[in-house]
């Protein structure tokens, strides 16, 4: 495979050229982190399907050639994709660059929402133990690409005991361009002891253009902190989306993640949660709705490192056309993590005979006093239920839509932000419901 070698070499060359000008270049710890990452990428290369973790997902289209940084953009192209306005802080990036005219950052005592570049310039100290520390570049070549070359992103920092009432919204909007380009969003979420917040991260963009988004999010929760993190991915269905997110959850803290995957031709989301302190808990939920030839891969890893941890995981998928989904859910219980309680479920609804799911639970349990359960299902719309609905006068297409919604509702209803819940439900209607044949060949 000659092509990936060339690609990584070109990224390496770009790094050598630009390193002195990247944000945080003056910080020795960040410089080292970036150097490590680009060296890992150069020596390891991009993944192939010969690797177990990438067996069902061929990332070749996203790594066969290097993606250039985004082209310069005039402000005129921007506003159309901004979407509805929401209460609370919102920080919008257009093609990876901050868009102040699409952002609003109301003052919130005890909390700061800032671009990562600003944070690295002004007060980098809180970032040092987290940035580049939680998502290991060694294991994820696209995370290594982000770490070595990221130019901006966001920091949400909530101080001890502070509870943020309104959700913080981070928007990464990739607009169409004549040439494919890449964005490398980098997000750090820091919640100190007893802090609480809700953060919505949207990756979005209009159809058209095979852009690459390679995002990394790192989350550090202090003791007793609580974070609800909602990620909505609605990028161009021709694009590539890779996301590595890692969270470290201290004693008594709670992390809940809600992932909604609707866009991109190829997407891969790696979510790793370490329950590092006693009594820490996490709830991970996901919904993927795929059509045409879309491919979405969700890898989750929950590491129970300490006693009395609880994890709940529910991912649901609706697949139409020739789409393909991969779910890989790993639960690792370390020897000291006694009294762990973990439950993992993955359910898939196939609307087309050509759709395909690979689902794989992976339990590695090294403690003896634990409750760990998992289950996976792959099914179709129940013919008897469809007939029942039709026999009451409900047209077949409406009946199908109703059942798809019913299937997804468990996950949609759990999304803690009303407008995300509503737009997600609406997306299910407009995408699946409006196709009489469900996109089947």
């Amino acid at each position: 495979m000659a092509a990936p070698v060339e690609t990584r070499d070109l990224y390496l060359e770009e790094y050598r050229r630009r390193a002195p000008d990247l944000p945080g270049a003056g910080l020795p710890w960040l410089r080292r982190t970036r150097e490590d990452a680009i060296e890992r990428l150069a020596s390891r290369g991009f993944p192939t399907t010969r690797e177990e973790a990438w067996r069902f997902t061929d990332s070749g289209p996203a790594s066969r050639a290097p993606f250039a940084p985004p082209p310069p953009r005039s402000g005129a192209a921007s506003a159309a994709g901004a979407g509805p306005a929401h209460p609370g802080a919102h920080l919008t990036f257009l093609d990876g660059r901050p868009a102040p005219d699409l952002s609003a950052l109301p003052a919130a005592p005890g909390a700061s929402v800032a671009t990562l570049r600003e944070a690295l310039d002004r007060s980098p100290a809180p970032l040092e133990p987290v940035l580049g520390r939680l998502v290991p570049a060694a294991e994820h070549p696209f995370a290594a690409l982000n770490t070595s070359l990221f130019e901006d992103g966001a920091l949400v920092h909530v101080q001890k005991g502070v509870v943020l009432a309104d959700p913080v919204h981070l928007v990464f909007l990739s607009w169409r361009a004549a040439e494919p380009f890449r964005t490398l969003p980098r997000i750090v979420l820091l919640l100190e002891e007893g802090a609480a917040a809700t953060v919505v991260v949207s990756y979005t963009g209009p159809a058209g253009g095979a852009m690459l988004t390679s995002a990394v999010t790192e989350v550090a929760l202090g003791e007793g902190a609580s974070l609800r993190l909602v990620k909505v991915q609605r990028e161009s269905v021709e694009g590539f989306h890779l996301d590595a997110t890692a969270a470290r959850v201290a004693r008594g803290a709670a992390f809940s993640s809600h992932v909604v995957t609707l866009g991109a031709a190829l997407s891969r989301t790696d979510l790793t949660v370490a329950l590092a302190g006693a009594g820490a808990e996490c709830g991970l939920s996901g919904l993927y709705e795929l059509r045409g030839r879309q491919h979405a891969d969700h890898h989750t890893t929950i590491v129970h490192e300490a006693p009395q941890g609880t994890s709940r995981e529910l991912y649901k998928g609706v697949l139409d056309g020739r789409s393909r989904a991969v779910f890989d859910g790993r639960i690792l219980v370390r020897p000291e993590a006694q009294k762990t309680n973990a439950l993992q479920t993955n359910k898939n609804l196939l609307l087309s005979p050509e759709a395909l799911v690979n689902t794989k639970p992976e339990l590695q349990i090294f403690a003896n006093d634990v409750k760990v359960k998992h289950g996976a299902t792959i099914g179709q719309l129940d013919r008897d239920v469809l007939f029942y609905l039709r026999s009451r006068g409900i047209p077949e297409e409406e009946a199908r839509r109703l059942l798809i919604h019913a299937f997804a509702s468990e996950v949609v209803d759990a999304i803690p932000v009303p407008w995300v819940r509503e737009t997600t439900a609406a997306a299910l209607f407009t995408t699946i419901g409006e196709r009489p044949d469900g996109g089947r060949p």
């Binding site: 013919r383 609905l389 006068g393 409406e398 109703l402 059942l403 919604h405 019913a406």
Partner: protein
């Protein structure tokens, strides 16, 4: 003379590959309640499924006209919107869809078809609550997912509630009495009686006579081996109760012959 609401002639149908209905003829007029009785395997449920348009049944001959139109040519949802209702022997559970949402979607689909405005949520709630009293359905059951975790009796009451809400012209009730204790049977029977109307017909498909003690039919038919072998007034049901289906063997001869099976054991 008014044309029949439902006119079935020489209907032949198979379930899967197996021929089940072998030339069934039946005429039902508006205002009438007909009972079709028969032993297991006689074709009762196949008849209900054919009339509702269920997959897995295949009409191989004969006709069924509803209001003078070819019923069998219509899609299931179109039959419903034209006023045909099937109460299921085994109502399905629909997790994630509330009973009240389901009823509203069904009623509005039918109203759109009739060219009537859709009912909004508030008006619909008033409407459905009033109908729910007919079958003693609680508010809690209205808000729960359709049939999920319902008892057998609650599921059958829910079928009658749907009939009450959707206001059909022709109702086919497939063994709505099976699996009910006496109290539930009375509730269901009261609901059915309350919905009898001069412009509405009902076909009660049943194995046992006991429902017919509460819902008195105008006509009783006996289905055996895919054909109606005998028809009569309500007293025929009592005769069947006393003598069992066995005496009817011999394709409508009406005489009891040696070696026929004994009375069906009720359970």
């Amino acid at each position: 003379m008014v044309a029949p609401l439902l006119e079935i002639r020489d209907l032949q149908a198979s379930a899967g590959e197996r021929p089940v209905l072998r030339g069934l003829t039946l005429s039902v007029r508006a205002g009438e309640v007909h009972a079709i009785m028969g032993p297991n395997g006689s074709g009762k449920s196949t008849l209900a499924h054919v009339l509702a348009g269920r997959e897995g049944t295949k009409v191989t001959g004969g006709t069924a006209l509803y209001q003078g139109r070819d019923l069998l040519a219509l899609a299931p949802e179109d039959r419903a919107r034209e006023g045909v209702f099937l109460a299921f022997q085994y109502p399905v559970e629909i997790p994630g869809v509330s009973n009240v949402y389901f009823l509203k979607a069904a009623l509005n689909a039918i109203r759109r078809h009739r060219g009537e405005p859709e009912m909004d949520a508030a008006d619909f709630l008033v409407h459905v609550r009033e109908r729910a009293r007919l079958v003693q359905m609680s508010e809690a059951l209205l808000q729960r997912p359709v049939n999920e975790g319902f008892s057998g009796g609650e599921k059958k009451r829910n079928e009658i509630l749907q009939m009450a809400v959707l206001d059909p012209r022709l109702s086919i009730l497939d063994e709505t009495d099976s699996g009910l204790d006496i109290d539930a049977l009375k509730v269901v029977a009261d609901g059915i009686n309350a919905l009898r109307r001069p412009d509405r017909a009902m076909v009660l498909i049943t194995h046992y006579q006991r429902l017919l003690s509460y819902v008195v039919p105008d006509r009783v038919h006996v289905l055996a081996d895919g054909q109606l072998v005998r028809s009569g007034g309500k007293e025929l049901a009592l005769e069947l109760e006393e003598r069992g289906y066995g005496f009817l063997a011999g394709n409508g001869s009406g005489g009891a012959g040696p070696g026929v099976t004994g009375p069906e054991v009720t359970g």
